[in-house]
């Protein structure tokens, strides 16, 4: 009896093994799976000998088959359910990190009102959508078309006692409404501008400094047809600083002796055959010559260094040249010295 049992068990095991044989694949290293992306990666080294021995396509297909089988085995292990007569396997979240398409969205910056409300702890209150309209005796929308208690639709408006009797009260209301709408729009745009870190229009700019004010005042003062000649001075106004005369002219009639002196000097310069020395020009010339000399010297030295150093990098060449300078002279320079000695 026991004999038969063991036999049967063995047979069952064998059957099971044979069944599994068709779906089992042997790999040295296990594959890495990312089932969320239906992805598998096989890190095993590809057997080059097999690859060359077989036809390439057949080998690739065999490899693909094995890998697919492994991936499918893994997929079939996932919990599955029947949805509308189709077997559906649940997939885990993808684990392979891929870059985003666009940056992470930023939360909208709060509007001015929202900032204020937060500061004061004001919370949003939900208003009912419908409101009782006393005139029409029915529930109407709070806002918009056919709204309740719409004062722009009144056919009669009482003129307040204090008001000007000629003033159009309807126009006044309409104007007020337009103003409110415009203000709201402006605030909306300002909120957008603030959100985008632009200059917020209409906001009070930083108060101009004392200097700026003074300069503005001066400019305004001289901006008249008579260049500010007839402008009155303000109380406590100080005279502008650093505003001296731009050109000093000699008086038309006056000291004859000095004028004579100047003319004579001029004549002397013209008449003399000796070239007149322009000091600034001379100095400039001298400086330039010195610079040129220094540059040429430098260039000469660099050229020699370059030849000696060959194609070695610059820094190294410099170092070598230095070392040679300190050590015994070599090459051409030595020959030159010999020559000198003979003489």
């Amino acid at each position: 009896m026991a004999h038969i049992e063991t036999f049967l068990l063995a047979k069952a095991e064998k059957d099971e093994a044979e069944k599994l044989k068709s779906i089992r694949v042997k790999k040295e290293l296990e594959l890495e799976f990312d089932l969320g992306n239906l992805l598998a990666s096989d890190r095993n080294a590809v057997n080059l000998r097999d690859f060359r021995a077989q036809k390439k396509e057949d080998y690739l297909r065999a490899l693909a088959r094995d890998n697919t089988q492994l991936l499918v085995n893994e997929l079939w292990k996932m919990p599955s359910e029947r949805v509308e007569g189709v077997v559906v396997a649940k997939l885990p979240e993808p684990t392979t990190r891929l870059p985003r398409e666009k940056p992470v969205p930023k939360p909208r910056p709060p509007t001015k009102w929202e900032q204020f409300a937060k500061l004061k702890g004001i919370q949003k209150k939900k208003k009912t959508n419908l409101v009782w309209d006393e005139a029409h005796k029915e529930w109407r929308r709070r806002w918009g078309y056919k709204r309740a208690n719409d004062n722009t639709k009144d056919w009669l408006v009482e003129v307040p006692e204090t008001a000007d009797p000629d003033e159009d009260q309807f126009a006044k209301r309409a104007h007020a409404k337009r103003e409110r709408v415009a203000k709201n729009e402006l605030n909306r745009l300002r909120n957008i501008a603030r959100a985008h870190k632009l200059k917020v229009p209409g906001a009070a700019a930083a108060a101009p400094s004392r200097n700026e004010l003074a300069r503005a005042e001066q400019v305004a003062k001289v901006s008249t047809a008579s260049v500010g000649k007839f402008q009155e001075r303000l109380p406590k106004e100080k005279a502008p600083r650093n505003r001296g005369k731009k050109r000093a002219f000699q008086p038309n009639i006056g000291d004859f002796s000095t004028e004579r002196q100047q003319q004579l000097e001029l004549l002397k310069v013209i008449a003399s055959k000796k070239p007149r020395m322009d000091v600034t020009k001379a100095v400039n010339k001298q400086m330039r010559e010195e610079d040129m000399e220094a540059a040429s010297k430098k260039r000469k030295g660099a050229g020699r260094k370059g030849r000696k150093g060959g194609s070695a990098p610059r820094g190294k060449a410099k170092g070598k040249a230095k070392a040679k300078g300190q050590g015994p002279p070599a090459g051409k320079s030595r020959q030159v010295r010999k020559g000198l000695g003979k003489r």
Binding site: E18, K19, L20, S22, I23, G36, N37, L38, L39, A40, S41, D42, R43, N44, A45, V46, L48, F51, E57, L60, R61, L63, A64, R65, N67, T68, Q69, L71, V72, N73, L75, W76, S80, V83, V86, V87, V88, A89, K90, L91, P94, T96, R97, L98, P99, R100, E101, K102, P103, V104, P105, L186, L189, I192, A193, H196, L198, P201
Partner: protein, 306 residues
């Protein structure tokens, strides 16, 4: 009010919805691909582009006209097209003497080129060259990468990532098991990358899991790697950033050890043993007289101390 640059206010509901669909989101849309050809293309490249478009179809745009640009030299026009069509993946095909049969796979982040990898086609078999039943359009393919280069070489690693990005299609919470019928197999071997596409045939195996047979459907490519333009670490880090809202919340006081056993940590206050209620027995009941005696003793002791 001056003009606000970059602030577009939609004028209609429809355009508002359109703009909303293009805004950056927490969980993003499927990446779209634009497939375009350069100034000159060979027949191989044109066919290859068409075939890849067929694989990628619902999430791709195939450009019909030539676009004379060189992605590795000037990326502005690519960026422009990307913005125009809201595509963050691109495939650019060209053909010239220096680089014959050239494909550039690339992806964008925030409408700027992130990675670009140039591949040369050595051998190409088109989808239409193989006469066999094809897969349905828009099938999510199984992606398989083989070869150690995909794990060791940095360029190949990035290439793998680009390929996954390009071909994976939608992310789905569940998949129809019988609908897994397309395999893309990438093999890196001897400096070449073999891309093969197979149709999966599910055969009976005797157990629940089916046996797999594959049938080649094309397109198949033998690629060689040419130039690459990989994103800097900085940029790729910002591109890989996971939004805070999507990060899994850390559960306090729960840990797992190396064997995967769940461990919990409990915080308990010290038990007051004086208030412990035990079983009452008649024999241990306190009598009135005893307590009084004890108290008296106590008070006596205290008095002594004082």
């Amino acid at each position: 009010m001056t003009q606000l640059d970059g602030v577009v206010k939609p004028k209609t509901r429809r355009s508002k919805r359109f703009l909303q669909s293009r805004e950056p989101k927490l969980t993003e849309n499927v990446k779209n691909a634009m497939i375009m050809k350069g100034g000159n293309t060979s027949e191989t490249v044109t066919k290859a582009l068409k075939d890849i478009y067929a694989l990628k179809k619902p999430n791709a745009v195939l450009y019909k006209k030539k676009n004379i640009t060189r992605p590795f030299e000037d990326q502005t026009s690519l960026e422009f097209f990307s913005k125009k069509t809201d595509c963050s993946l691109f495939l650019f095909g060209s053909h010239n003497k220096k680089r014959p049969n050239n494909l550039v796979f690339g992806r964008m982040f925030d409408f700027h080129v992130l990675d670009m990898i140039e591949l040369g086609i050595e051998k190409f078999v088109s989808l239409s060259d193989i006469k066999s039943p094809k897969c349905a359009e828009g099938t999510k393919p199984l992606l398989i990468f083989a070869g150690e280069a995909f794990d060791t070489d940095s360029e190949y690693k990035r290439l793998r990532s680009v390929f996954i990005d390009f071909f994976r299609g939608q992310t789905v919470p569940a998949v129809r098991l019988a609908g897994l019928e397309h395999v893309l197999h990438f093999t890196a071997l001897e400096g070449k990358i073999y891309l093969r596409s197979y149709k999966v045939l599910l055969k009976k195996s005797g157990c629940r899991t089916p046996r797999i047979e594959l049938e080649e459907i094309g397109p198949s490519f033998d690629f060689v790697l040419r130039r690459t333009h990989l994103a800097s670490d900085d940029l790729s880090k910002t591109a890989h950033k996971l939004p805070k809202a999507l990060k899994p919340k850390k559960k306090k006081n729960i840990s797992h050890d190396t064997f995967g056993t769940k461990l919990g940590r409990l915080h308990m206050q010290k038990q007051n043993l004086a208030k412990l209620k035990t079983r009452k027995m008649k024999g241990l009941r306190k009598r009135r007289g005893e307590t009084i005696q004890g108290e008296e003793e106590d008070s006596a002791k205290k008095a002594k101390v004082e």
